[in-house]
Symmetry: C2
Amino acid sequence: MLFGGIEAGGTKFICAVGSGPDDLRATVRIPTTSPDETIERSIDFFHQQQTIHGRLAAMGIASFGPIDLRIDSPSYGFITTTPKPGWANTDFANRISRSLEIPVGFDTDVNAAALAEWRWGAGRGLGAVLYLTVGTGIGGGALVDGQPLHGLLHPEMGHIRIPHDRERDPYPGACPYHGDCLEGLACGPALEQRWGQPASRLPVDHPTWALEAEYLSLALVNFTCTLSPERIILGGGVLEQRQLFPLIHHRLRELLADYVQSPRTTSELDKYVVPPGLGKDSGVLGAIALAQRAANAEVG
Amino acid sequence: MLFGGIEAGGTKFICAVGSGPDDLRATVRIPTTSPDETIERSIDFFHQQQTIHGRLAAMGIASFGPIDLRIDSPSYGFITTTPKPGWANTDFANRISRSLEIPVGFDTDVNAAALAEWRWGAGRGLGAVLYLTVGTGIGGGALVDGQPLHGLLHPEMGHIRIPHDRERDPYPGACPYHGDCLEGLACGPALEQRWGQPASRLPVDHPTWALEAEYLSLALVNFTCTLSPERIILGGGVLEQRQLFPLIHHRLRELLADYVQSPRTTSELDKYVVPPGLGKDSGVLGAIALAQRAANAEVG
């Protein structure tokens, strides 16, 4: 059985057909313009793929948010209150489902990435997994016993508040809602604004990395104490700076101060906080995993 | 069917026999001394109750922690690394189970309280509920689709880090591990140390309440963004100061800044952050609820 997946991001859609990390038959990138244009181009791609591979069993959408995940809501499957121009209140899942006449699984990009990592990557078989992405924004998805955490709406982990020492770091924060929340202090654009150049151009011993490790470690303390995950997977553009990992392992251990007494949170932090096992494919593979769930739900 | 429940706290054990909030047949308080003495006195109570009411169907234990909840662990059912003298590495659940020859449900005091509130109290029927207690310490329990959140060990929500403005509040924090973590800043003993007298003696317009509301609101922002609960239930001795609730509703709304767009997190915060529906009985009723689950699991 083959599945379709859309990783719907604010700058591009990645559409793929396949059944898992070793079986991605076709992938395409579509720039995110208007909802009509972007969604229609995605649908065209899947129609075309069906002429080659035959009928897809289901579609999965791993979407930027906020989105409506409440099955009984009239706007289920919509992108809701995004500030992204033109995209507020966009019917997404239902439109895909109607056009392709196919069941659709729908969740946040980060919940989907957590699902893919749990299924095939660095979180394989664990009971509780957190996936955190640090890039243009910061977002987190959590899986508990294989089920994505939703709740009232869905988590918005980038917007937790953490200690901010303004003497060490006078930067006021980039978040238009909260100023110096986690995303405001530690997302890619915050690094660029703080230093006047893209963080990727800063040398590996630049003070930005210790500061970034400080903020991410404070956030990981909070996620550890709140969710008690068995593993934390850190993805996104900023974490491609792999020098951050040992800095985070060191600082997180200091901050936890051996209070949570597990090897994972003391001596084996390098097994607790890890890069994605699926590299940059966590998101689109998460969409494929959502499609597989939708197909299984359909069958019964 | 009747059940036994133990709410095991650091200063007292509350033991009860019953089947729910309208049917608590007997309750006893036992001071927490040594594990041997305290657990034996609890067992004696339940033996005695069985001569009156007949055989109990199961026992539930809602325990202070940290505790081992991993079913496949050799120390499952133990209190593990507590600093409480004499109680580290105490076999608790197995001892109760052997002595009474009965199935035992075992979880943290706060997960059990969340369970009771979900079953009979302020969280009835909701998909995701957070119970936070603020007293001698601070702890949180979360229920997702009726299942207590465990993960690697279990949450330790009192130990998240939040912004601490040392100009407004120079108090360094009471936590021996982390200094000014949430518990360090906002637990009952921190209030007493900060002002030199028990908080319950301070007038309702004393600045401690605005400061306490600030810290608890910052914490609730973080729990909201991480867990996305449908309701947050605030219990414990400090929250008996009911003037805190409107202060928290006001400040939490300011801090969330309408980013999480749900009535619960904007205009209806008084339905989002609420006192326990079961009052001070959440814990011991949680133990009864754990017993009912253990009995059901036994039956299959």
